[in-house]
Symmetry: C2
Subunit: 393 residues, 2 copies
């Protein structure tokens, strides 16, 4: 096991009916900005539950945060924050809304970083120059879409001009998160699919690397993968899709997949995500669907480097015990692809109408964004990324 | 899954050499009381590492906290706290020292609870009248013995006149905990055995109940049990006992076993602990050794109530797939007993020279302490406790 530091103070309120706790979690004297997306929360009853819980609070609203939230949209929130002296953000939505709220929270109090040679007070520097933030507005979250884990971590991804830029700080980790699985019943099949696949690949990125004998981390990851494999498809089947236990298990898995725990003390990969981000940026493909396209190719091309963990994955997650090593690994990769197909997501670039000619642009962008040494060994060069994308055709 | 609220803000510093972080974690202007036990930390180098890290801090010492820390010992710390205006406790030791520091921290600022009809300012009320505390001194912990999970939870057990009394508050949860597995190399076999068994039974108490389809919690628990079964015996074998990876996996398992995570959203039992506490109180048996005696009896006597989970435990933890249901359950119980025997702890009352005649006293004490409705169904009466103890003869 590698040395690690781990802390996750986000308070989780899990279960049906828990949205009402925000009346107590948000300080009564706070000036709250309710931050949400396209308005689906008004159709599914979540908005009303939130408003009811805030009946004694002073709050304002900022809506319109899009999937893959953009810098331009998020900066529009600064006006109401200044005008109304907002001092608390309540994000109500999926990962994009929570990610967006994090950038809004950081930008609102950004004064530049005196210590950096790139000092300046433009919030854009948080993303473009990776300036460390020193303060942020407090955030609470009501999660409506289990997927990104953003509700209990300090990570955020913001898009500008088709480029996805991450930032991270413990200061923007939500103070509390409400996870009510019944809220997810109104999601489309596509949203559920994307969420399950996103959580699955988050787990894989922290698990399928090389062994450091972190037995607890490995088994926790395997437990999440098995749970997502079992429960994900049920959330799409007519006879089980309304089952709240299925939704609860998916929701808790997605949070645990990226709250820092399973990745503490073990190497991490994230090459699938970095390459996937370019697919979203260049071609507008849903985040999770870029992952289901790239991951099988990573498993195939990096079979040598990931051999030991692929065998463990085959044995423990898929219960494959027959055949020689290569046979077992190949079967595990095939079953992973079949799981993605069951989840109705693409596993090939051709499934989203991309071809060999499109790879050049992706490689060019990876180069522009400094993604020239990816993976747990930092040895996935642009040449290997090209090999991965070619494999994924 | 049951509804739940979960929060664990303790910052974990895990790995060899991490003790030095206390120089930054403990505020420089704090007046620190270093709290420890019988002085073993002076023999194994931990004391020196701590002192070195505190070279720029103002600190005082309070030692002599015994296993199963007593109220009388802990109250002696109040004098130095008042005299030296102590405002920070640094607990260096195992679960007893951390538990003791928690009571010291609560007692130091206890002013009684105005709202209770039993209001008063005697710290004894925290234990005897279960008065809710409203403040406590901040605590940091350097763990030397992986076992109780006390380093990242809000629980404490204090003994007075042979009676073990628990209290719990998020206010006494350590702000940070240093877990350096190399520190555990100086422990005796008996200390390691007890720690592994304690962590194992903590997990079982939150797992072996009835199913609420909490798939993540179940798999996390199973992962901890498997890890302890694999690594525990290695920590006793001459050829592997010095292996730091073994120690690291045991240490992280013990923390995860009782930091609140695996028990969130699932029913919990704790009957083995409650009955075990009386064995310690009445006959001075090591805590873990009371658990290894009581648990197999609970599994046997409560086979009907725990049937579904016992079958899952047999299949997933012990990989038992052959035979009818009773055969599989019986085999799992037998393997549990064999695991305890490998860990060199007793599994029978007769192993610690207790006999049928001693059961009356235990039942009497359970009655005195209100332990008349134990277990996940609150249906373990004194009569059933007697049956359990008779089974354990």
């Amino acid at each position: 096991m590698l040395n690690f530091n781990f802390q996750n103070p986000t308070k989780i309120h899990f279960g049906e009916g828990q949205i009402s706790v925000i009346s107590k979690e948000v300080p009564l004297d706070a000036r709250v900005l309710l931050v949400y997306g396209g308005g689906s929360i008004k159709g599914n009853g979540v908005y009303k539950q939130v408003i009811d819980a805030l009946s004694e609070h002073t709050f304002f609203e900022f809506s319109g945060i899009e999937p893959n939230p953009t810098y331009d949209t998020l900066m529009k929130a600064q006006e109401i924050i200044k005008r109304e002296n907002i001092d608390y953000l309540l994000a109500v939505g999926g990962g994009s809304v929570v990610d967006g709220a994090k950038f809004i929270a950081a930008a609102a109090l950004y004064e530049g970083n005196d210590e950096g040679i790139n000092a300046g007070s433009d919030p854009w520097d948080i993303l473009a120059k990776q300036q460390v933030i020193t303060k942020a507005l407090p955030i609470g979250a009501v999660l409506t879409l289990p997927a990104t884990g953003s509700e209990s971590n300090g990570n955020s991804v913001v898009t500008r001009d088709g480029i996805k830029l991450p930032f991270s700080s413990p200061l923007v980790r939500p103070l509390f998160a409400v996870l009510d699985p019944s809220v997810t019943l109104s999601l489309s099949d596509r949203q559920i699919s994307n969420g399950v696949v996103d959580a699955f690949v988050h787990t894989i990125e922290q698990y399928l690397t090389y062994s450091v004998n972190g037995k607890v981390q490995d088994r926790f990851s395997e437990g999440l993968l098995q749970t997502l494999i079992e429960e994900g498809p049920k959330a799409l089947l007519p006879e089980t899709k309304e089952n709240l236990e299925v939704r609860a298990n998916i929701m808790w898995s997605a949070t645990m997949a990226l709250n820092g725990l399973i990745g503490a003390g073990v190497p991490q990969d994230w090459s699938t995500h970095m390459i996937g981000h370019e697919l979203t940026g260049a071609f507008g493909i849903d985040h999770a669907r870029t992952l289901s396209i790239v991951l099988p190719a990573v498993m195939k091309v990096r079979k040598g480097q990931k051999r030991e963990k692929l065998l463990q994955y085959a044995a423990r997650v898929w219960r494959i015990t027959e055949g020689d090593e290569n046979t077992r690994i190949d079967k595990a990769i095939r079953l992973t692809e079949e799981f993605f197909e069951t989840m109705q997501v693409p596993t090939r670039l051709s499934d989203v109408d991309l071809a060999n000619k499109d790879i050049d642009l992706l490689i060019e962008r990876l180069g522009q964004h400094g993604m020239t040494a990816l993976g747990e060994h930092s040895d996935i060069t642009l040449e290997i990324s090209r090999e991965l994308l070619t494999q994924a055709l």
